[in-house]
């Protein structure tokens, strides 16, 4: 049973007073005595203690004398009580602690010179602090090292059995992959079942190991801590905004460490609600792409011999000349731009400024178009907030969490830890509506399996249930009675039979979920790709707003609606206005006044908001195909490998007169390009990323530039200047100060800005007319097929970028296997070595199949990161009617066993 923080949002522990070294100290009853002492600023040595989990009390270092007790007590496991008189210094305590260190050292091999923890080892520090000089009867264990795992080597000789790795894995990660295991008279730390460790590889065990018992294969023996330069930056994979320490020597990244470490063991346990400082497998072990041999060191120019490395001078001359020629011949609207949300805020800002103010077109888009814009635009319209409403702390302290269509442990592992902490420490009820039995569903109190693509219907069903079961908040609906009447009328039109049929869950389950959500004082909705990356994602988010509004949870503290963006800076891309409908600061591009403000500051006239001058991702591709767009500037995006072939991206790109790609790697799209500009990765530039909470985190330059690759902002500035604009930024800081002037308070010192929902005008203007259309279940227009093919993210990868990181590919290679439920495999008599043919209206693909019992019967899964075999080409691409978000991660297929294909 986890020891709860004594102060929760619901209960306050009584205050007590005790005496520590003669000083009176105020505290809360029930807190670990160790915490009370460390809050006074005194540091007692402890090797098995970490504030993120319950005290374990195995190292015997944190000894203190408590009046009334004869022997020293371990302060970590003792609880503070009123009137305690504690002494934590003295020769007797020093001697007792020294004895404890000696006890650990007698069985420790003194192989410090070859140990990776040398210089970053708590046992070393303790031996030094306590002056251990001689050891009698030193007897190292002499055990072989456990090298069975793919990443983590466990050397039991060095282990001091503090249990930190086991505790953090069990309590914080809730993965519970490690255990103590008695083998031949010695206690070992092994993976559950004494097999090779294969877990989520978040590496928190590695971070908290105070000695060198757990080491990392990817950087084994290649460094000593004092050789490394440590740069604090922000992880560039997902939008969780984790702080990372890039540890580099020369131009090599040797390892990535987290703020979570045995060195930062003192903290307030309640503070973990804001994040525990750890990383996931991608952040910790996916750094190899930065030093990859596949990186582009020089710009490439297409000649008769294909793409040839050329100097920047020559390349830029060609780019500028041809862009100017196209602009002169066909006008600015023959040029369009796409940028990835893996760029920093400053680069995103510069890019949209380059496209709008210098080139003079509003045909630009970012990868936030793949889903996050559905959420931000709907939320903007309904409540005036274009981002997540809740912070990590709100999520951790929620009473009820409603997770819809998100495989949160895979897409955003660190956000999922907030949900896990809510479950474990604060006892939250969690409803997980997802077609698959996801990892979070296994831990949740109320897993709710739904049909594939049933998310939107599930939201409608929840609203219907809330309205019909009279779970509404009278004050909230009383403020907008007309809107509520319209909503009531709209949901009455839905029949429970069709709804439950589409949701794939029973009416009772839906009603229970609705009741739990409505009755909870702090209820938070988290939705993910299953809601926002669908063709009806925009209306689904509006329906979620209805749900929160009628239950009175729009403006209640600790409640809110959140969609989790997948790529690192999707929120920043929206905030910086890299979309044809948005200006920086999320003001509408159609808003004359806002546009005039930016035009004045930039000293240009901006293109108007006519459809002819504006285009989003899908329209840009369409116009490329029609020949209206002659030149496309693609920064870090890879539409060819992302969108299914049904969208005819290749045809569109081949039709272009000039395709400029700017990327650290030669992507599939770049292979078609006329010019490839070699760009830097996040480790080689300064800037900021905006995470899902709206915090703006610093990205810092950790490495020198890779060969002739240049940061994106530098390329934008050079291009802007060459095209004759005044873009005299000498650093990202200069761009930052311009953003600060235009969007006051955007950076807000890295703190999430508080949000306030304002649904009033939305509910009073036009709501009643639109709501009817939103509560009509779409007919089953999906093409026939016996299986639902889902393309989704896996924990070990993020987009296509992570497939360049050899460390992640080692952990999760592309086996090219389709995952199916074992029952389906048995029904179709598909064996381990049999190939299957997967057929959709778009074609068919032959591949092997493997069993995954977590999938629902009738569904199959393929990771979206890999295009070999080209499973993505089987899917249909449907776009959202309002936001044009392309949806292509789900389709119906038929699967048949191929005869005679034994491998």
């Amino acid at each position: 049973m986890a020891l709860k923080p004594v102060t929760t949002p619901d209960a306050e522990a009584p205050s007590i007073e005790l005496s520590i070294d003669g000083q009176p100290v105020q505290s809360k009853a029930g807190v670990s005595l160790y915490d009370v002492i460390s809050q006074t600023g005194k540091i007692i040595p402890a090797m098995c203690y970490h504030y993120t989990f319950d005290p374990f009390g195995s190292c015997g270092m944190c000894l203190v004398m408590v009046e009334g007790k004869k022997a020293p007590v371990r302060s970590c496991t003792a609880k503070a009580e009123a009137g305690m008189v504690v002494r934590c210094e003295g020769d007797d305590l020093h001697a007792a602690r020294k004895k404890a260190v000696e006890k650990h050292l007698t069985i420790h091999p003194l192989d410090c010179p070859v140990c990776d923890a040398d210089g970053h080892c708590e046992l070393q520090d303790m031996a030094f602090q306590h002056g251990v000089q001689n050891l009698v009867n030193a007897k190292p264990k002499g055990l072989p090292e456990d090298r069975r795992s793919l990443v983590l080597d466990i050397n039991m000789n060095r282990c001091i059995l503090c249990g930190e790795c086991i505790n953090i894995c069990k309590d914080v990660q809730m993965v519970d992959a490690l255990q103590f295991f008695k083998k031949e008279g010695t206690t070992h730390v092994v993976a559950k079942g004494d097999v090779g460790l294969y877990c989520e590889f978040d590496g928190d065990c590695l971070a908290v190991c105070p000695v060198g018992a757990i080491t990392n294969k990817y950087s084994k023996y290649v460094y000593k801590p004092w050789q490394l330069k440590k740069t604090t930056s922000t992880c560039a994979y997902c939008a969780d905004g984790c702080q990372i320490h890039l540890e580099t020597s020369g131009r090599d990244v040797q390892r990535i460490t987290s703020p979570l470490s045995w060195k930062n063991k003192w903290g307030d346990r309640a503070e973990t609600a804001k994040g525990h400082g750890g990383l996931c497998v991608r952040g910790r072990f996916g750094f190899q792409y930065i030093d990859s041999k596949e990186r582009l060191g020089m710009p490439l120019l297409r000649t008769d011999d294909g793409l040839v490395p050329k100097s920047w001078y020559e390349t830029m001359e060609v780019v500028v000349e041809r862009l100017s020629a196209i602009k002169a011949a066909h006008g600015p609207n023959a040029i369009a731009g796409l940028i990835t949300a893996r760029c920093t805020n400053e680069e995103l800002y510069l890019f949209q400024k380059l496209m709008r103010a210098v080139i003079g077109t509003n045909q630009l888009d970012s990868s936030a178009r793949y889903g996050h814009l559905n959420f931000t635009r709907a939320m903007q319209k309904a409540v005036g907030i274009g981002r997540m409403m809740n912070s990590y702390e709100d999520i951790t302290k929620a009473k009820t969490l409603l997770l819809i269509g998100t495989d949160i442990t895979e897409t955003n592992p660190i956000t999922s830890l907030r949900v896990k902490e809510a479950i474990r420490v604060y006892g939250a009820q969690v409803i997980v509506a997802h077609p698959t039995l996801t990892n979070i569903a296994k831990l949740a109190s109320h897993p709710l399996p739904i049909a594939p693509a049933g998310e939107a219907a599930f939201i409608q069903a929840l609203v219907k249930a809330v309205v019909e079961q009279d779970l509404v908040d009278e004050a909230a609906v009383g403020a907008a009675p007309e809107a509520f009447a319209a909503l009531k009328h709209a949901v009455a039109g839905l029949s429970w039979d069709t709804v439950t049929n589409q949701v794939g869950a029973s009416k009772e389950a839906i009603l229970e979920a609705a009741r739990m959500y409505a009755e909870s004082p702090r209820a938070i909705i988290l939705c993910g790709e299953g809601v926002v990356r669908r063709a009806d994602g925009y209306t689904a988010v509006l329906n979620l707003v209805d749900l929160a509004w009628v239950t009175g949870k729009l403006n209640k503290p600790g409640c809110g609606i959140n969609a989790i963006p997948e790529e690192v800076n999707e929120q920043g891309a929206v905030d910086m206005g890299v979309a044809p409908e948005l200006l920086p600061g999320q003001s509408s591009y159609a808003d004359e006044e806002a546009r005039a403000k930016f035009a004045r500051v930039w000293d240009v006239s901006l293109p108007d908001a006519q459809p002819a001058t504006s285009a989003n991702l899908m329209e840009i591709l369409d116009r490329c195909r029609r020949g209206a767009i002659k030149a496309l500037y693609v920064v870090g995006e890879n539409p060819l490998a992302t969108l299914p072939s049904g969208t005819r991206v290749k045809e569109a790109l081949e039709k272009l007169d000039l395709l400029i790609c700017q990327d650290p790697f030669l992507t599939e799209t770049a292979q078609l390009a006329h010019v490839v500009l070699s760009a830097s990765t996040f480790a080689e530039k300064n800037g900021t990323f905006t995470d899902l909470q709206g915090r703006v985190n610093r990205v810092r330059e950790a490495l020198d530039l890779f060969e002739e690759a240049r940061p994106d902002w530098e390329i934008f500035v050079a291009l802007g200047q060459a095209l004759g604009a005044r873009m005299d930024y000498d650093s990202p800081q200069a761009v930052q100060s311009e953003i600060m002037k235009l969007l006051p308070g955007y950076y807000n010192l890295g703190e999430p800005r508080p949000v306030q929902a304002h649904p009033e005008s939305y509910l009073s203007q036009g709501y009643a007319q639109d709501v009817g259309a939103r509560y009509a279940l779409r007919g089953d227009t999906a093409p026939a097929g016996s299986f639902s093919l889902m393309l989704g993210q896996v924990l070990y990868h993020s987009g296509k970028l992570s497939t360049r990181a050899s460390g992640l590919i080692k952990l999760y290679p592309n086996k090219g296997h389709l995952k199916m439920h074992p029952d389906d495999l048995a029904r179709l008599q598909i064996g381990e070595h049999d190939a299957v043919r997967v057929t959709s209206g778009r074609g068919s693909v032959e591949m092997k199949a493997e069993a995954d019992p977590d999938l629902a019967v009738g569904t199959c899964f393929f990771p979206e990161h890999f295009n070999q075999p080209p499973v993505k080409d089987l899917t249909e691409c449907v776009t959202d009617p309002v936001t044009s978000v392309p949806s292509f991660k789900l389709t119906r297929v038929t699967i048949e066993k191929l005869k005679g294909t034994r491998a």
Partner: protein, 197 residues
């Protein structure tokens, strides 16, 4: 000498000039030294005997069976006050679980010959030798790399060993030798080789 500062009489000056007194004085010194043992010697034909504790060029040593002693622990780099050492280490592909230095550089132009690196070395892989002749026209050749350092160590192995004894680094003590010489290999020997898959 007060005589030098005194004004000489005219007679004295004339007498000195006619009797070649400077030459007489000089020759007196020359002839006297014909019968005295000289304090200098004729380098490079003759060389001075150098004490065992002399701090000369650094060399890397091998065990008697030819195996490299260095485990790439980088303590020498950490100890070096003039920052002239650079070590790059890795896991030995032939002997899993043993660490070795893939690259080892000592910039001898920066070295101050303090001997701290030798003192820091846990396996006595580094030692100073009696070698001091490495003047060159090419300064770049004074950055000793791993091959050069092992070369120095091999050519001056006896001197290196004497240096370690003289500085109390290596004792003729069976226990200490067992510890040092088997250093990280005990665990390595026990661990089964990794599955190539």
């Amino acid at each position: 000498m007060s005589a030098g500062t005194q004004e000489k009489s005219l007679l004295r000056t004339v007498w000195d000039a006619f009797s070649f007194s400077e030459i007489r004085t000089a020759m007196r010194v020359v002839f006297r030294h014909m019968f005295v043992k000289p304090v200098t010697f004729e380098y490079p034909r003759e060389k001075r005997t150098i004490p065992d504790a002399h701090r000369g060029a650094l060399g890397l040593l091998r065990y008697d069976d030819g195996e490299e002693r260095c485990v790439g622990c980088d303590l020498c780099e950490a100890a070096c006050p003039s920052r002239c050492i650079k070590v790059v280490s890795a896991e030995n592909p032939d002997r899993p679980l043993s660490r070795y230095a893939t690259e080892f550089y000592i910039d001898i132009t920066k070295c101050v010959f303090c001997g701290y690196c030798v003192e820091a070395c846990p396996v006595n892989a580094l030692a100073m030798t009696k070698m001091y002749e490495y003047s060159t026209a090419d300064k770049r050749s004074l950055i000793f790399d791993k091959a050069k350092l092992y070369d120095v160590g091999e050519q001056h192995i006896e001197d290196a060993k004497r240096y370690l004894y003289a500085h109390n680094q290596e004792k003729n003590d069976a226990d200490s030798r067992a510890y040092r010489y088997k250093f990280p290999h005990q665990v390595a020997a026990l661990t089964p080789p990794q599955d190539p898959s």
